[in-house]
């Protein structure tokens, strides 16, 4: 698993070091838990996106978008290598304020890393929303040609829905791998950012093809 920065505790270490009481088991299982944390992340993102931080969020996605556009001619792998982590890494290296009273230094750092990753995820998410209509329009125009016998726009929508399910399950696994370790939140945020970023880059690379 690729991680944001040097981190302790590979998943194999005993995970019984619970600093908090385990969360109560939700009747609907992992999905409900994940939805709850996603809702929380979305709430936090909304909080960060509210004025006066809004300009920063727009800057983040412009910054990343320019990175992708300038590297994509060398291929999606080059764009991934150059642009993933562009927001989260410097953000996570910024000095932390004093940890909250009930937080250990590690918990404070992990919370900051999760927030930095969520900030980058929000930037990729808005790029995806910005790029999607162009991509769909290319597919629709392909389909409109007389010599085409395929419905690529429908196939694209189906593929994207399947990707969304995959991303959710994949990052649920990244989360579950860490058991009750607090690092699970960073692992999940890291997975969400990378999975989304790779998809956005890959889809952007297809726009205007043919």
């Amino acid at each position: 698993m690729q991680r944001l920065s040097r981190h302790p505790a590979p998943p194999a270490r005993p995970r019984a070091i619970a600093r908090r009481a385990p969360a109560p088991r939700l009747s609907r299982g992992p999905t409900a838990l994940m939805l709850a944390s996603l809702a929380l992340a979305a709430g936090l993102a909304a909080l960060f996106a509210a004025p006066p931080a809004r300009a920063d969020a727009i800057d983040d996605s412009r910054f990343i978008g320019q990175c992708v556009e300038s590297h994509l001619s060398q291929g999606t792998a080059a764009a991934e290598a150059a642009c993933l982590g562009l927001i989260a890494l410097p953000c996570a290296e910024a000095p932390l304020g004093d940890p909250a009273e009930d937080q250990s230094p590690t918990q404070a750092r992990e919370a900051a890393e999760s927030a930095c990753l969520a900030r980058e995820t929000a930037a990729w998410d808005s790029l995806m929303s910005e790029w999607w209509p162009d991509l769909l329009a290319s597919a629709v125009s392909l389909d409109a040609r007389d010599d085409r016998q395929s419905a690529s726009s429908d196939a694209l929508r189906r593929a994207q829905r399947a990707w969304e399910s995959f991303a959710e399950a994949e990052c649920g696994y990244a989360y579950a791998l860490w058991g009750r370790s607090d690092f699970r939140n960073v692992a999940k945020a890291d997975c969400e950012m990378r999975t989304l970023a790779r998809r956005a880059i890959q889809l952007r690379g297809q726009t205007g093809l043919d």
Binding site: P10, Y173, A176
Partner: protein, 195 residues
């Protein structure tokens, strides 16, 4: 009532002729082993390709760690390129069969690496007991099921993008190869990170 078993599976002559002229469009995935069905002399067996891929991966790891995985990624598609370079394979069907054979090779590696990954998840779950957190092994299984559905939907899109010509068979096969290899390499990375 069964027909006498042939030593080598053969395609009915008509189907073979139609396939050669590109008139039959195969589904994108094709059953495993299809690549080898009537083309065993032209298309290397997936097991042969797999051995070559493993050697390529070992060489990439030996050459300076390969921290960003670029070396491992460069092993994807080499076997297909070599296969397609053979003059007798330079048809739509030949190219598709080459890509599907390499897809099968990566699929075998994916299955090989899946086992320790799953064992690792099960071991973690056993060690942590019933903590109220989602266990890793079922999530891994669910992620893999979701990935499979994604791969097929994504490759159906690639196939559709290619329009009406028989070239779409090649697009679909190439997509199957690319995604299967990427997934297998992800497993390999995770195994390297896990002890």
């Amino acid at each position: 009532m069964s027909l006498p078993r042939l030593s080598r599976p053969r395609m009915p002559p008509l189907a073979a002729a139609l396939t050669a002229s590109g008139l039959i469009a195969f589904g994108i995935a094709g059953p495993p082993g299809m690549a080898a069905a009537d083309t065993s002399q032209r298309i290397p067996a997936p097991s042969v390709m797999r051995t070559a891929i493993e050697a390529c991966l070992d060489a990439a790891s030996a050459a300076g760690g390969d921290a960003d995985g670029a070396g491992a990624r460069s092993c994807v598609g080499q076997e297909t390129s070599a296969c397609i370079d053979r003059p007798e394979n330079q048809t739509t069907t030949g190219m598709m069969a080459c890509a599907l054979a390499e897809r099968d090779a990566w699929d075998a590696l994916l299955n090989l690496w899946w086992k320790p990954l799953r064992a690792h998840a099960l071991k973690l779950d056993e060690a942590s007991g019933d903590t109220g957190f989602p266990p890793a092994a079922p999530m891994l299984q669910e992620a893999q099921r979701a990935w499979l559905a994604f791969r097929d939907a994504e490759c159906a899109y690639d196939y559709a993008l290619a329009g009406g010509g028989t070239i779409r068979q090649v697009y679909g096969a190439e997509c199957q190869l690319r995604l299967t290899a990427a997934r297998a390499l992800r497993f390999r990375e995770r195994l390297a990170a896990a002890p």
